[in-house]
């Protein structure tokens, strides 16, 4: 079985902190000299909930890169992405409800299982919930 090369998924903001309406940009690429044969790659900017409840999530930005005969998908080349972030929901670290934002890269290789890489970031500057109200 062909082993997946290391994947780089980086946001341009080193701090990983954004404000509503701000532009988020970054890039992803696979490291290594040998081309990695992949069927497709999916890049999503999304929020999801963590904590006690079932997970809710919504995709804000979605891009799909497909390996086609005329346009082979070479992940060794950096693929850039950018989007304007929405006004809500803001990142939140509550007591039983947490809202997290991330850029998520899902790669479907031609052989082997899919790989998942995430780069988390914060949207807004909401304080964490106090331990006791």
């Amino acid at each position: 079985m062909i082993e997946a090369p290391p994947i780089t998924l980086k946001l341009d903001s080193a701090a990983g902190e954004y404000q509503p309406g701000q532009r988020l940009s970054g890039h992803f690429m696979a490291e290594g000299a040998v081309p990695w044969m992949v069927r497709s790659a999916e890049l999503s900017i999304l929020w999801y909930t963590a904590g006690k409840g079932d997970e809710d999530f919504a995709v804000h930005h979605f891009e799909r890169f497909v390996d086609e005969p005329g346009r082979p998908l070479d992940l060794r080349l950096p693929h850039r992405f950018a989007t304007a972030l929405p006004a809500s929901p803001l990142s939140y670290d509550g007591r039983i409800v947490k809202v997290c934002w991330c850029a998520r890269l899902r790669i479907y290789p031609q052989q082997g299982p899919e790989t998942l890489t995430e780069a988390v970031f914060r949207l807004g500057d909401v304080s964490a919930a106090p331990a006791e109200a």
Binding site: Q19, G51, D56, F57, F62, R95, I96, V99, R104, S127
Partner: protein, 358 residues
């Protein structure tokens, strides 16, 4: 050692005890079986009944065709959903749903005239109700009304059944055929019925006796770090021991536990914005006051998703002489602060040429 197979144990949490492919295959097999049963039924109905020679049925008989078509439709639809779920990632499916949600159907116009933010509940319920002293009258949540309705429903059904038993027992008693075991068996049910009547009367008296609470606010939605003028009116012939209005933020999380669905709540902010002790509301009069609601800086906005929520509300609490403590909730909507000019400018700036930057 492999865990022993246990058939009659309630499963807790969301951990998976086997491969998800077993479940997928089982659902696919069930769907195919439904389609096969429906197809066989449809063939039999057409070949042997509706289109059979020497048999004449009216148009009404053709309505029976719905019976075999229903499992075919259900099976095919579920198969398509199953294939879509297994071929497309959760993000791709969510993006497709999001795109479909954003479509505007012909003739329906925009979704809402007011500002709509992702995962923030709409404020239409509040801003559609104008206040008398201030701009908006806050609607009370329907909890006490729902409680009264539920108690009435349970009380009527329960006591009707108990009354039927009691009438039957009384008739048996006068006929000298009373079954004492059955009579004793009815006693706890009758006591439960009496308790439901007591609880209903208490609920009605509490709702009616503590009068009407009216809350109005000058602006809506609210924003973190801002102050808002509010107005309170409390009617009823009451001797008030203490009376409070609190600004409350509550987290709510829904999750499955075994076959049950549970909801947990956590109060993450509670602040008394108005408090008064020992005063009297005269008959026909009302206690009226203005106060200020300050939403703290850096707090979470109202958030609403299928299983998780963050809700803001004004809670009116009080204790009247001869009455138990009461509490009424008035939902508020706190929106995230609008994007700053700097952030907005960044958002509309042209995309940089990134060649060679990585």
């Amino acid at each position: 050692m492999a865990p022993r197979l246990r058939l009659f144990v309630k499963k807790r949490g969301q951990r998976r005890t086997g491969s998800r492919w077993y479940g997928t295959l089982a659902v696919a097999a069930l769907d195919l079986a439904l389609v096969a049963i429906g197809a066989a039924g449809l063939y039999w109905l057409l070949a042997h009944v509706l289109l059979a020679e020497k048999e004449t049925y009216g148009w009404f008989a053709w309505a029976a065709i719905v019976i075999p078509i229903a499992p075919i439709g259900y099976g095919v639809t579920d198969l398509i959903v199953l294939v879509w779920r297994n071929l497309a990632s959760t993000e791709r499916r969510a993006a497709a749903v999001q795109m479909a949600t954003d479509w505007e159907l012909p003739g329906m116009g925009p979704h809402a005239a007011r500002t709509s933010l992702p995962a923030v509940p709409p404020i239409d319920e509040v801003v559609d109700s104008a206040g008398v002293r201030l701009a908006y009258r806050l609607p009370s949540d329907a909890a006490s009304g729902q409680m009264s309705f539920a108690l009435t429903f349970v009380s009527v059904i329960w006591n009707t059944l108990v009354a039927g038993f009691v009438v039957s027992l009384v008739r048996d008693y006068y006929q000298g055929e009373l079954n004492w075991r059955l009579a004793w068996l009815v006693v706890p049910f009758a006591l439960a019925g009496a308790w439901s009547v007591f609880a209903l009367v208490r609920q009605i008296l509490l709702t009616a006796g503590t009068g009407t609470t009216l809350l109005e606010i000058a602006e809506h939605p609210l924003y973190p770090g801002q102050k808002y003028e509010a107005f309170l009116s409390q009617t009823g012939r009451l001797q008030v021991r203490w009376f409070q209005v609190q600004l409350v933020c509550e987290e709510r999380a829904t999750y499955p536990q075994g076959t049950d669905t549970r909801t947990d709540t956590a109060i993450v902010h509670r602040e008394t914005v108005f408090s008064e002790r020992k005063f009297e509301i005269p008959p026909g009069g009302a206690f009226e006051t203005h106060f200020t609601v300050a939403v703290p800086t850096g707090v979470m906005h109202s958030f609403s998703a299928a299983h998780n929520a963050v809700s803001w509300m004004l809670v009116v609490r009080g204790r009247m002489a001869r009455w138990p403590e009461f509490e009424r909730h008035f939902p508020l909507y706190v929106f995230p602060l609008p994007a700053t000019p700097v952030a907005a400018a960044t958002a509309i700036s042209p995309r940089r040429i990134e060649q060679g930057s990585v």
